[in-house]
């Protein structure tokens, strides 16, 4: 594949991934009424703006499309689609940042009434360290599934081959009953206080 086009594709994947993570985080922020998560969404929006700008510049300079301005425009518009999703996520996050008390209806809409979002940090002595997400069998054992993982400064969507590390922050969703099992499996100590 053409080197320039490969770069464009990579940028597009990053735009798609980041905008979808933002949406997951924005809904989670709303569910948990968490300003911290909402701010993360806003931070990611800045990141999307930078990637989007690079994507646009690459699309404008791609030689492969030199003769076809229609296709070039289509490419640029595809980038805009992901950017609009990111904007929408930021608007949802803003509701939390404005301090509007989330209406009970939002909780029901986002996850269904019995479902919830929880977070856990993988402690240094966790039995999950060094396991891939697939090997960790979190959904099978706790009924909770991972929405996003934060490692250092990066948010990542869960991939089955991803190896868990100490300090990873896991955001998971599922029925409220699974919470204790989830904290137990991850080995997070704080779980006792959260009861």
């Amino acid at each position: 594949m053409d080197e320039q086009f490969r770069k464009i594709v990579k940028h597009f994947v990053e735009l798609k991934d980041t905008s979808e993570i933002m949406l997951d985080l924005a809904y989670s922020a709303l569910l948990l009424n968490s300003k911290e998560l909402a701010e993360e969404v806003i931070r990611l929006e800045d990141q999307v703006d930078v990637i989007h700008r690079d994507f646009q510049l690459l699309s404008l300079s791609c030689d492969l499309l030199a003769e076809n301005t229609e296709d070039r425009l289509g490419l640029i518009e595809m980038g805009e689609v992901t950017e609009r999703i990111a904007d929408a996520a930021a608007e949802i996050a803003e509701v939390v940042l404005r301090g509007l008390e989330p209406h009970p209806v939002l909780r029901m809409v986002i996850r269904g009434a019995e479902e919830t979002v929880v977070r856990a940090t993988v402690p240094p002595n966790s039995s999950l360290i060094g396991k891939t997400l697939k090997q960790a069998r979190i959904p099978e054992q706790t009924g909770m599934w991972i929405l996003v993982i934060r490692r250092g400064d990066a948010w990542m969507r869960p991939a089955s081959t991803m190896m868990l590390q100490a300090g990873d922050i896991l955001l998971a969703s599922g029925y409220a009953e699974g919470r204790e099992d989830f904290w137990g499996l991850v080995g997070e100590e704080r779980r006792r206080r959260r009861r």
């Binding site: 289509g74 949802i92 939002l106 969507r157």
Partner: protein, 202 residues
């Protein structure tokens, strides 16, 4: 757009919750369908997305109306304004899906971008045809619990040249084409089941 083609909005009783659930579910479906339309270069799927976009637009009006009727005091108005803000944000997602569908409808060569992109991501979209000898035949998609079993969601089904997206009660028939979303491993399992190579659902 031809203005006279816009549907007249009329109040009908629908709860705030119901309206927002529908808007959110539809917008998520639309994004998946829009990517599918680009991935499989299907103008028909793209048209489906445009139609759903019109449904969402109507629902947003109804959401606004029911929220107005529901607010009895300042406190409720404050909290419902957050709901409406979320509704309008989700509407923008539906608009974004329609924008992607229109690129496909214009016959622009955006699909290679999406096709190459999907080679790099975990969550895949697949088109799977159901064979006559598949164990899926006659089963309701909602009963199969594919999401829990193999981590796959069927998002749309094509039968006799029409797309069906309200799959809740739909029984699978031979030659149906399913659009499914999930990890490659799960999709391969569904493909084997649909093509009759695997006879057991578990």
């Amino acid at each position: 757009m031809n203005m006279s083609r816009l549907k007249k909005i009329e109040y009908r009783p629908i709860s705030v919750r119901e309206a927002l659930v529908e808007i959110k579910d539809l917008s998520e479906l639309m994004i998946d369908l829009a990517y599918s339309s680009a991935l499989f270069n299907s103008k028909e799927l793209a048209e489906e997305v445009v139609d759903l976009g019109e449904q969402v637009d109507t629902l947003v009006y109804l959401l606004d109306m029911s929220a107005m009727l529901a607010a009895r005091d300042a406190e409720e108005a404050e909290s419902l304004s957050g709901v409406l803000k979320v509704g309008s944000a989700v509407d923008k997602i539906s608009d974004a899906a329609v924008a992607m569908a229109s690129i496909v409808l214009r016959g622009i060569d955006a699909p290679p971008l999406v096709q190459e992109a999907f080679k790099l991501i975990d969550e895949q979209l697949s088109r799977i045809e159901v064979a006559q000898e598949s164990v899926l035949i006659g089963r309701k998609l909602s009963d199969l619990e594919l999401a829990a079993m193999i981590g796959v969601d069927v998002i749309a089904l094509r039968r006799n040249k029409t797309w069906i997206i309200d799959l809740e009660k739909e029984q699978v028939k031979g030659r149906d084409i399913l659009i499914a979303r999930g990890a490659l491993y799960g999709l391969e399992r569904l493909r084997n089941i649909a093509e009759g190579k695997t006879k057991e659902l578990e």
